[in-house]
Amino acid sequence: MVSTPLLEAAELISRERVAPGFWCLGFRSPEIARRARPAHYVAIDLPGTFSVRLPLGIWTARDDTFTLLFREWGERTTRLACIADHEPLSIIGPLGNEFSLPDTGKRAVIVAGGIGVVPFWLLVRELLAAKVRTTVVLGARSKHMLVGVDELRALGADVKICTDDGSAGTRATALDLARELAPPDVFYGCGPPPLLRALSEHANAAGIPCQISMEETFGCSMGTCWGCVVPIRRGSPQAVGYPHASDEKREYDFARVCVDGTVFWSREILWNR
């Protein structure tokens, strides 16, 4: 299902530096908070000099507030981290499609790398409410880049952590850890592309359905600029198909991450087209 977005002025109500270079900001916006579904994101207009809206995933949503959890990547995220308190920001959201849920009693394994944890607070809350047995495997380069663990545990989730350098949890990648678990009924993934690709290949080989929330550089965040596409199996329901394209042997079409995604089935994504 694709969201019904709003253009809203959301007031900044909380700011916390959760790790060096990582921030959690809270906003009051009753309608966006109420409509937020797992994997939805918002597009934020930053005050000051022009830049295109910044896309960020919705982390938590409760009552009339939602939070964003982000890293200082570059210009816009650095500016967002120092927005004045109570500044109203123009936010479009929620945007994008959402994860679909398995039936009650099934088992789900979530694989997240670093800041890729963001779409999973809402998902874990939904899965637990639907009585899906859920394990989150969260990996990061090192301890100080591991964010969101406490909030997920507070929901009651089984969270396993690992780091590349062993500074927290097991010294392993999130996928290594996930492979050691009993095969689930469904995988969910978000994080760096190499992790997502490896997870997709693992899930596809094991015949386990796997939903991936993808990321690309965005321009419009609305589906009009064609800047954010990913190659998708030709004919996939999410692909923007050009049926009579002359190169009939081509296996892929493109889909826009911003409106056709961000969530795609791993079997549909053509990583090495």
């Binding site: 022009f50 321009g219 600029c225």
Partner: protein, 319 residues
């Protein structure tokens, strides 16, 4: 919210050849599709017209990723004219144009004079298309990949071939800023029969990924758009307005009403907004309100009175 056209005392309408628009604010090609996406959060009727993404003869998958980079005050893009091609466009997209709440300007891109003429002629007379814009900023495969719009003769060849086959709607030639002097190209387009000019298209640019020591865009170079390029656009519009009599649609970095006024006063009859939609989807409303306020402040009743006001060399028809 008051739309730009709601103020009875003011006449915001403009004429581009035989085409009359209810207001001079146009959505730029490649940034807006048919308006349905932005229509989810605002009233697209704020635009007097919407320009469609450029259509080529064959379907095109466009460039590899990444295609975009947010840069200071702008956006660097290399989409590569992804699109379904003219046959799919006519069959599946053209029938949906009736639902667009603004006038629709179609855009054609091509890699040869013949391609432009063919695609444009197939769009001529399609219900809902009120004008055809030619994106002549593409490489000409018949001239070793040189860009049409960088050369007056190639620009004229495209316009002439299209005008010979398009008879029902005005033809707009969209020029590139990647020239040192735009006047010869503008004159050539006018002499070849263009009913109006659009300028500017994106400015060629590039960014290097220092960490990985390679170009950031998969296509290596791209087109810079957004407020960063506005002074370049205003300059080219000013120059072209001294060289031709046909109306000019000014664009490049228009974000606010004052930006639009700069273009109008430099010599534009209408203006387009592209990249600014990616920050402020309500930009056309704000621009319309500011233009209306400026007219009242100056005791003008028609937006046409602003055109070329600041430009002593303005060669077009004064309102």
């Amino acid at each position: 919210m008051m739309g730009a056209g709601d103020d009875d005392a003011l006449d915001l309408s403009v004429e581009l050849g035989s085409l009359r628009l209810r207001n001079p604010i146009i959505a730029a090609s490649g940034c807006y599709n048919r308006g349905a996406e932005f229509g989810r959060i605002m009233d697209v009727a704020a635009y007097g017209a919407v320009t469609l993404k450029s259509v080529t003869r064959e379907p095109r998958l466009g460039n590899e990723m990444p295609r975009l980079l947010s840069t200071p005050g702008g956006l660097l893009n290399a989409i590569g004219l992804q699109g379904p091609g003219i046959a799919y466009f006519l069959e599946h997209e053209a029938p949906k144009l009736a639902a667009v709440p603004s006038a629709v300007i179609a855009s054609v891109a091509g890699f040869s004079v013949a391609e432009f003429a063919e695609v444009a002629s197939r769009m001529d007379g399609i219900p809902g298309i009120v004008a055809i814009e030619l994106d002549v900023s593409c490489p000409n495969v018949d001239a070793e990949g040189a860009c049409f719009a960088e050369d007056p003769a190639s620009t004229a060849a495209v316009v002439e071939a299209v005008k010979a086959r398009v008879t029902k709607v005005p033809v707009i030639a969209k020029l590139t800023p990647n020239v040192s002097d735009i006047k010869p190209v503008a004159r050539a387009a006018e002499a070849a029969g263009a009913d109006a000019l659009s300028l500017i298209n994106s400015l060629r640019g590039m960014s290097v990924d220092v960490d990985r020591a390679r170009p950031w865009l998969a296509n290596r170079s791209g087109g810079l758009t957004g407020p960063a390029i506005r002074p370049v656009g205003v300059y080219h519009v000013w120059e072209a307005a001294t060289a031709v009599k046909i109306p000019i649609i000014g664009m490049g970095g228009i974000e606010t009403g004052r930006d639009a006024l700069e273009y109008l006063m430099a010599g534009a009859t209408a203006i387009s907004i592209g990249t600014a939609n990616f920050r402020d989807p309500l930009a056309p409303l704000h621009v319309g309100e500011t233009i209306a306020a400026e007219l009242r402040k100056r005791s003008f009743t028609r937006v046409r009175s602003l055109t070329g006001m600041a430009n002593p060399g303005f060669a077009g028809a004064r309102a």
